[in-house]
């Protein structure tokens, strides 16, 4: 009697566990799917174009009659815009985090933190509008030579977009620093600024670095701001005032056009996507590893 009443639920139990496990496997399937699809198309692409030409060529004109497949101009465009975004987001995000973590009153924190969350939740296409139709005209008044499409304006706006990420992750890291370290510093006569900059920030260093790396990864993968405001002219330059094209914006450009599927031109977006995926993958792993290490430091 007892055996029959416990056996049936047990079978149901293990069935449920199986079902849940399969759902958890979907995420592994997603990663596998990304890698397989990018790899297959990239492989097809490299059967026609040599990887050496792709990785070292300085001209990217795959949609022209005489196509050239050197990816460096797109890499340069991505690097330039991300670099500008980091010049804005890293210092500003870190300073904001220091202020919120070490100085701000609880009341101010209660207002500022949700506001920053809103800033992080605004869709990127909205930031694109802001960059093209507000920030660029504003900058053109200061820099008359600035082109209507350029790297500077989307870079700055992207920095503003990423700032909340840097700020909240860095602040989390600083909050994780034990109180005792701060008190020890005060006991030695240090001021609040000295304590913040010489004790708390160094102590939270790996956590803050993890936030910075994640910010770079986010900038590299950001699409709509650059697709709208940076132009569609791949060129190998570090001049922030002229139109450029990033890897992500190129994928958008081809997706919007009427390039037939299965052609070499079409496969370029998967090859570019592969570079993008590998680049951000390495950054994400590095960031996760540092975060893990940080957690262990004060566990």
């Amino acid at each position: 009697m007892i055996a029959t009443t416990t056996k049936a639920p047990r079978r149901v139990e293990s069935l449920i566990e199986w079902g849940l496990f399969v759902c958890a496997l979907v995420s592994v399937g997603t990663t596998a799917g990304i890698i397989v699809i990018l790899a297959v198309e990239t492989w097809e692409f490299f059967r026609t174009v040599s990887p050496l030409e792709f990785l070292t060529g300085t001209e990217w004109t795959p949609l022209f009659a005489a196509p050239r497949f050197g990816v460096l101009p797109l890499v340069a465009g991505t690097t330039l815009v991300s670099g500008i975004a980091m010049l804005v987001a890293l210092p500003a995000g870190l300073l904001s985090a220091i202020y919120l973590s070490e100085y701000a009153s609880p009341g101010l924190r209660r207002i500022v933190k949700p506001t920053l969350e809103i800033l992080a939740g605004v869709p990127t296409v909205v930031y694109g509008y802001f960059a093209l139709l507000f920030v660029t005209p504003l900058l053109q008044r200061l820099l008359p030579g600035l082109s209507g499409f350029n790297a500077l304006s989307p870079g700055i706006v992207m920095g503003i977009m990423i700032l909340p990420l840097v700020c909240s992750l860095s602040e989390d890291a600083m909050q994780g620093v034990p109180r005792g370290l701060r008190e020890g510093s005060y006991a030695l006569g240090a001021t609040k600024m000295q304590t913040s900059l010489r004790v708390v920030v160094p102590a939270a260093f790996s956590g803050i670095t993890a936030a910075f790396i994640l910010a770079v990864s986010r900038a590299v993968g950001e699409t709509m701001i650059v697709a709208i405001a940076a132009g569609q002219q791949p060129r190998l330059t570090l001049d922030p005032t002229v139109p450029i094209e990033t890897m992500t914006a190129y994928i958008v450009q081809v997706s919007l056009g009427d390039t037939p599927q299965g052609t070499l031109e079409y496969r370029t977006i998967f090859a570019v996507g592969m570079m993008l995926f590998l680049g951000t993958f390495v950054l994400n792993l590095a960031s996760a590893w540092l975060r893990e290490r940080y957690r262990e430091e004060y566990a």
């Binding site: 995420s27 939740g121 997706s255 977006i269």
Partner: protein, 277 residues
Amino acid sequence: MKELAFRVVALTVLFVALAALAALLVDIGVDGAGRLSWDFLTGFPSRRAANSGIWHAISGSIFVIGVTGVLAVPVGVAAAIYLEEYGTRSKMARLIEVNITNLAAVPSIIYGLLGLGLFVRALGLGRSVLAGGATLALLVLPVVILSTRESLRAVPKSIREGSYALGATTWQTIWHQVLPMALPGILTGLILALSRAIGETAPLITIGAVTFVTFAPQSLSSAFTVLPIQIFNWVSRPQADFQANAAAAIIVLLALLLTMNAVAVWLRDRYQKERQA
């Protein structure tokens, strides 16, 4: 002196960031408020900016997010339950966990390429609502899993132990005790995940959601456009009239997101009060 200067600089930086948000909102409000009208909300796109509406894009967004929710919510919650309640110690669970953290940071346009290869071509769904919704479901899945786990973890261990002590099985404990307690938190996470999906543009462009669709979707296999793509389309045109349309559509999009976020915050507050009571 240095102390004061540092404080002033840090505070200034913080307020410049908030001022940027204010500038963004004011700029869009000024540009777009004049175009908002009932006809704009219920109309369809037209070659003349002044006659254009966004009903096709609003209904497209609703269709796509519906599909995303139906696919991502059950799978995501189930995966979170597995990771949090069953498999926390196994090697496999650890691997899945690392994988999810990484997936959450993969650029959204990569999901577009995945959707293009998998749903549009391999599974032959074409450039349909179903393909778009499924692509966004994979995109928000990590977010759903991470936030659901967070809510499950907040349920005290003693609840589970009490349930086991009364002879309940693992699943009975989860279904009757843990899930009801975690529900408000889970719902909050789900709303935030879906509101992220509503604002996504790049992956849907990549799978080929067309920018000049002029009708509301009729079924899951219809071609479609969504609000952010319509905004992108209008921003990219040189005429100021269309750009005003874009600003008006942005106001609608932001209003939608704000409503969803307000509901999420309300749920979270209610939840916190209940737990303290």
